[in-house]
Amino acid sequence: MTVARISLGLRSSLAATLRRELQIALRSPGNIINPLMFFVIAVSLFPLGGGANPEWLGQIAPGVIWVTALLAVMLSMESLFRSDFEDGSLEQLLLSPQPLYFQVLIKVLAHWLVTGLPLVLMAPLLAYMLALPAEGYVPLIVGLLLGTPTLNLIGAIGTALTVGLARSGLLLAVLVLPLSIPVLVFGAGMVETALNGLPVSGIAAVLGALLVLASTLSPLAIGAALRISVT
């Protein structure tokens, strides 16, 4: 009789978590579509509200796309922990022998793959609609690629703090938006610097540094916040 060998090492447990999170997230397509639709609609409001002069649009494009991406990420954060909290699997996560730090990191990664990455892929189209000059496209995409995971990680701290509270939507915004400002400033600044013809590798490095800082430190805060919310 053979016994099935289930490996319980860190890598395999994280892979299993990643697979599970992606499966659950992809089951309801709303998880992908809603943030994306918000992104597109909100960006479209600017030419509708402020006039469609391409020169003006091109100037505000970096800021508009970045701010809207930030808001879209923040609005999508609710789906990270809420359903797990409600059905008790969040408690199981805290009780499991697997280190919380890595489990949380993988959860946020899965969440970003489903909600953040589509935004990055949609951004060039929106940039075209806002008449962004050609030099801005690559910095925009690279910046969003580096910046949206950071925004997800910071948003996860806020979500972890508020998951146990009812009607926490605006509180989440009040907590998370100020903390996201550095990413916004450097991300939009990267595009503007490129539009001015200056090199952007330094700014990309700063965004990368912020991502590294967030991915190493925020799981600690998220774990602490989850423990507070669940007890």
């Binding site: 903390l179 400033v185 602490a224 916040a225």
Partner: protein, 254 residues
């Protein structure tokens, strides 16, 4: 010295020790305040370019330092609470937040009132004012977060997490806004050194008002923390005895 600090960690000792502090702390603080304000308003030479409105910096600069310093102290208290479960640290932290918010508001208001006659505008997106505005948002958010929880302990822990996350962020925010200003080249730096080619004597009253604001901060902090102690330790014997004593005093007075 260490024993003294250690004693401060107990609510009862904190309360009893600070009862003695308050009179002489008030005395020193008001002395510094009056010297600083009178000197700054009346005896400091007027600025070559700005005339007399630069005298606002005697309030603006100390409140800016105070708002940031208060946040650093808040982060220390939060760390002490999370690591060693020191309830006293959380009570102090809770009292710091409204004071820090007040200092931010003062800094922004006085900054605006200085900016208008000097640079022609009430608001400017320079690094200092913008970071202070965001700091105000974080202070307010912290109060909202603490109050959103039904359980007081959970609210205290959540506020501590936010404080620790915020303190890392505040430094980054300041630097990022500074960098953003070099990018946009539109905002002129509301730098205190813009006071220009002036004799260093104008900074002497600033020392007085600076220390006065610090003293005021600690005075207000102590007063608020004492109330917090009374409220949260109401079930203990020493607070009950204190209340009875106050009742008797009122009765004998009346």
């Amino acid at each position: 010295m260490l024993q003294w600090l250690y004693k401060l960690g107990s609510p009862r000792h904190f309360y009893e020790m600070t009862t003695g502090f308050i009179p002489w702390l008030s005395g020193i603080t008001f002395f510094l305040l009056i010297v600083g304000v009178v000197w700054g308003l009346a005896f400091s030479p007027p600025d070559y370019q700005m005339g007399d409105n630069y005298r606002i910096i005697y309030i603006h600069v100390p409140t800016a330092i105070g708002a940031m310093g208060a946040f650093m102290m808040l982060a220390c208290m939060a760390a002490m609470y999370m690591i060693w479960n020191l309830k006293m640290a959380d009570m102090v932290a809770r009292s710091i937040v409204p004071l820090g918010a007040w200092l931010c508001v003062l800094c922004l208001l006085t900054g605006s009132l200085w900016g208008k006659p000097t640079w022609g505008t009430y608001w400017i997106w320079d690094a200092r004012l913008t970071s202070t505005l965001i700091l105000l948002f974080i202070y307010v958010g912290m109060m909202a977060l603490r109050n959103a929880y039904d359980s007081e302990t959970a609210g205290a822990k959540a506020a501590s997490v936010l404080a620790l996350v915020g303190v890392i962020n505040v430094v980054i925010i300041y630097k990022s806004v500074e960098w953003w200003n070099t990018l946009h080249q539109g905002a002129s730096e509301l730098s205190a050194s813009d006071v220009g080619t002036n004799p260093p004597e104008i900074w002497i009253p600033a020392f007085f008002t600076g220390f006065a604001v610090i003293g005021l901060f600690f005075l207000m902090l102590i007063l608020r923390t004492r109330n917090e102690i009374l409220r949260s330790e109401q079930r203990t014997q020493w607070v009950q005895d204190l209340l009875k004593q106050e009742l008797e005093e009122v009765a004998t007075d009346a």
